[in-house]
C-alpha cells in the first residue's frame, strides 16, 4: 500500500458560537473567535489517499480526478464563503478546524475513484491543524 497526498487552499470566514449558551459563556469559551462579525483564514487542505500502485499506469490515484473531486466537493463550496452562513454542514456544527476536517472527510468519502480516503488534514494556519482518519 502507498499513500498519496494532494494539497489545496481555500480562504473563508467563520466565527464560533453555540446558540444554546449565553453571550457571556460563548465569549468565555471561544474568546476572540466568538466575534459574530466573523474573521477569516487561509486554510490549507491536505487529502491523503491509500491504495495499491496500478501496474499499468504507475498511479495510486488519477491526480486529475482527485484534484477535480477536491475542487468540486470542497474548495468550490468553501472558498471565499462564510462557513457559518453559507455552508450547510455548519448551520449547526461550529466550524472549528476539527469539524472542518470531519466535514471534508464526509464530502470526499467514497467519491475518489480507485483509492481509499486515508486522512484529511486541515491547516487553519501554519501552527494549527486538525487531522481526521474517519474514526467513529
Amino acid at each position: 500500500m502507498i499513500l498519496l497526498t494532494r494539497k489545496a487552499e481555500f480562504s473563508a470566514s467563520h466565527y464560533y458560537w453555540n446558540e444554546a449558551w449565553s453571550a457571556e459563556e460563548n465569549e468565555r469559551v471561544f474568546g476572540k473567535c466568538a466575534n459574530k462579525n466573523g474573521h477569516g483564514h487561509n486554510y490549507t487542505l491536505e487529502v491523503t489517499v491509500a491504495g495499491e500502485v496500478d501496474a499499468a499506469s504507475g498511479f495510486v490515484v488519477d491526480l486529475k480526478q482527485l484534484k477535480d473531486v477536491m475542487e468540486r466537493e470542497v474548495v468550490g463550496v468553501y472558498d471565499h464563503r462564510h462557513l457559518n452562513k453559507e455552508v450547510s454542514e455548519f448551520a449547526k456544527a461550529i466550524p472549528t478546524t476539527e469539524n472542518i476536517a470531519i466535514a471534508v472527510w464526509k464530502r470526499l468519502e467514497g467519491k475518489i475513484p480507485g483509492a481509499k480516503l486515508h486522512r484529511v488534514r486541515v491547516y487553519e494556519m501554519v501552527d494549527l491543524f486538525a487531522d481526521y482518519y474517519g474514526e467513529p
Binding site: Y16, R119, Y133
Partner: protein, 141 residues
C-alpha cells in the same frame, strides 16, 4: 468522532552533544561539529498532537488556551533561551533532539489531562525532525 489537533510552538536553545561514556576523540568523531565545547543553538519547533472525541457543544477536542498554557509552562518556558545541557533532565543524558523530544513528551504527558497526548514532534532544523511516541495512525503517515 475522534480527531487530532496539532499545534506548533517555538523555542530557541543551545546545547552541546558530549557524553562521559566516550573519550574526547570519540566524542569529536561521533558528534562532529555538535561537540564544539562552546555549544551551539537551534530554533526548535515543538509540534504537539492531542486526540479525542470532538465535543458536540464546542466543536473542539480540548480548549486550545489550556493546551497553550500547559505547553508554555512545561516546555517552552523551561527550555526557551536556555542551555539544554544545564537542565536537570540532561545531566545524565545527552541533549540530542531525540532526547529533547522524549522529555517534552514525558513532561506534557504528566501535566496535560484534557485530551490524549498522541505525539510530540520536534524540528531541530527545517531538515531534521523527531517524533515520539511512534504509535497508531500517526505512525502510518
Amino acid at each position: 468522532m475522534k480527531a487530532y489537533l496539532s499545534r506548533r510552538y517555538r523555542l530557541s536553545a543551545s546545547h552541546r552533544l558530549n557524553t562521559g561514556a566516550f573519550t574526547e576523540d570519540q566524542n569529536r568523531t561521533v558528534y562532529g561539529k555538535c561537540n564544539n565545547p562552546h555549544g551551539h543553538g537551534h530554533n526548535y519547533v515543538i509540534e504537539v498532537t492531542v486526540g479525542g472525541p470532538v465535543n458536540a457543544e464546542t466543536g473542539m477536542i480540548c480548549d486550545l488556551g489550556d493546551l497553550d498554557a500547559c505547553v508554555r509552562k512545561e516546555v517552552v518556558d523551561r527550555f526557551d533561551h536556555t542551555n539544554l545541557n544545564l537542565d536537570p533532565l540532561f545531566q545524565d543524558r545527552v541533549p540530542t533532539t531525540e532526547n529533547l523530544c522524549m522529555e517534552a513528551y514525558r513532561l506534557l504527558a504528566g501535566a496535560f489531562s484534557n485530551a490524549e497526548l498522541v505525539r510530540v514532534r520536534v524540528e531541530e532544523t527545517g531538515n531534521n525532525s523527531f517524533e515520539y511516541p511512534v504509535n497508531g495512525l500517526f505512525a502510518e503517515r
